[in-house]
């Protein structure tokens, strides 16, 4: 049974890009709005039209935002009217996703006409080019990142992003509620977690807009965590550092006894450490999750209790074999446990 469904987000329509972009960009349509729904941005990288206006179009990538700044506007301004129109037409405006004019510069009317004619979305921002490039590429990096929705609860526990997974009805939300209400940890998302691979080694989890702040608890229905427990019970989107999987005791094939081997689960192609916790009455899940996080934090800082213990035990075995003396072995054993 698959609990995930993939939504490869390799493209974003220009209209969505404009709607979701950071407010600071103040994106306005100057022309070509009719193409905004159909033209797709497929790369977070940005290009400057620059040399392409002078006829060198070789490196124009169709899926990128094309920036038009002071130098482009200045170049066009010193051309004759005919040459200007020619230069703009030459760009092959049907192939370009969209163009963005910075610093609220006013483009020549030929550019507006040509954009309108070919349905090329021509956007404008008050920001200078360098700022616009940073904001746009950051936003596109996020919007275009591979993503999937995972069934589970994402919490911030001691600053670590912990994704609790397991079949429905196993008690994920109840465990999360205990961690939030009684232990002061924070909710990112309940039930559906939007996971994005925002870098080659990082996954970011967030709540879908509609579900933000809400949880469903059997018997209580839908609750709002921020209203009930305050704003400190809520967390912003969080990187996923650890997956805790809850399973019914009977279903758990191979429970970890030593804790020597770190298990992983693959999310969007990245390996995330995973702990499998069997659920049964008398086991306090929230304490177990907290402890799992503490173990993980310690391990990340180089302290591994399981490894230390096993090393001590191996030394003990070796010593008892060398001495071949039972009393010695016994003495070692009791000392090993006490210290």
């Amino acid at each position: 049974m698959s609990e995930t469904h993939k939504e490869d987000y390799g493209a974003i329509a220009v209209s969505d890009f404009r709607a979701q972009a950071p407010a600071r960009l103040h994106l306005q349509f100057l022309a070509g709005e009719r193409g905004a729904m159909t033209r797709q941005i497929t790369s977070p990288r940005i290009q400057k039209l620059g040399l392409a206006l002078a006829g060198f179009k070789h490196y124009i990538h169709s899926g990128r935002v094309q920036l038009v700044g002071q130098s482009e506007i200045g170049y066009l301004a010193q051309l004759s009217t005919d040459a200007r129109r020619e230069a703009i037409r030459n760009l092959d405006l049907n192939r370009i996703a969209c163009a963005l004019i910075t610093k609220n510069l006013v483009p020549p009317h030929e550019m507006i006409e040509e954009a309108e004619r070919s349905g090329l979305p021509l956007l404008q921002t008050p920001l200078v080019s360098s700022e616009a490039i940073t904001l746009v590429s950051e936003h596109l990096q996020y919007a275009l990142a591979p993503r999937e929705i995972r069934h589970g609860v994402l919490l911030d526990v001691y600053g670590l992003g912990v994704l609790i997974e397991g079949r429905s009805g196993i008690g994920k939300s109840e465990c999360a509620l205990d961690l939030i209400a009684r232990r002061g940890h924070r909710l990112v998302a309940d039930d559906a977690v939007e996971v994005r691979r925002i870098a080659h080694d990082a996954l970011l989890g967030s709540a879908p807009e509609l579900l933000r702040e809400y949880m469903e608890i059997r018997g209580l229905g839908i609750i709002n965590v921020r209203e009930l427990f305050g704003v400190s019970a809520m967390s912003n989107p969080k990187t996923i550092d650890l997956v805790v999987r809850l399973e019914r005791w009977a279903e758990t094939g191979d429970v970890e006894r030593l804790g020597l081997d770190e298990k992983h689960v693959k999310i969007l192609g990245l390996e995330v450490p995973r702990v499998l916790l069997p659920v049964s009455s008398g086991r306090s899940l929230s304490t177990l999750v907290e402890t799992a996080v503490r173990v993980h934090l310690l391990r990340a800082r180089g302290t591994d209790a399981a490894q230390n213990f096993v090393r001590r035990h191996a030394e003990l075995l070796q010593a008892s074999e060398e001495d071949d003396g039972i009393t010695v072995a016994k003495g070692h054993a009791s000392r090993a446990i006490k210290t």
Partner: protein, 90 residues
């Protein structure tokens, strides 16, 4: 009550991973399973990892496996097999 004796055959003895394997095997059965050193210096609940590790059984250590319960015989047979096979090591 059934019992059987077995000797630890592998070079590393009843080390941590071997002990985990033994404990997993014992947990497959409902019977109480106990392991004692034949010299009487230590005894362990075969379903408890730390308890088994406390046996400090190196290569050549003689152990007695006892079990009590419905599936005692199968449990002893299986646990002794795992030990005699050297936990899949040399």
């Amino acid at each position: 009550m059934c019992e059987r004796c077995v000797v630890i055959p592998n070079r590393l003895g009843l080390h941590a991973r071997a002990a985990a394997q033994l404990v997993r095997t014992a947990n497959l059965y409902t019977s109480d399973v106990r392991i004692e050193r034949l010299d009487g210096s230590a005894a362990a609940d075969a379903k408890s990892l730390l308890s088994v590790l406390m046996l400090a059984a190196a290569r050549g250590t003689q152990l007695r496996v006892r079990a009590e319960g419905e599936d005692a015989e199968q449990a002893i047979k299986h646990v002794c097999e795992v030990i005699a096979a050297g936990f899949g090591e040399e």
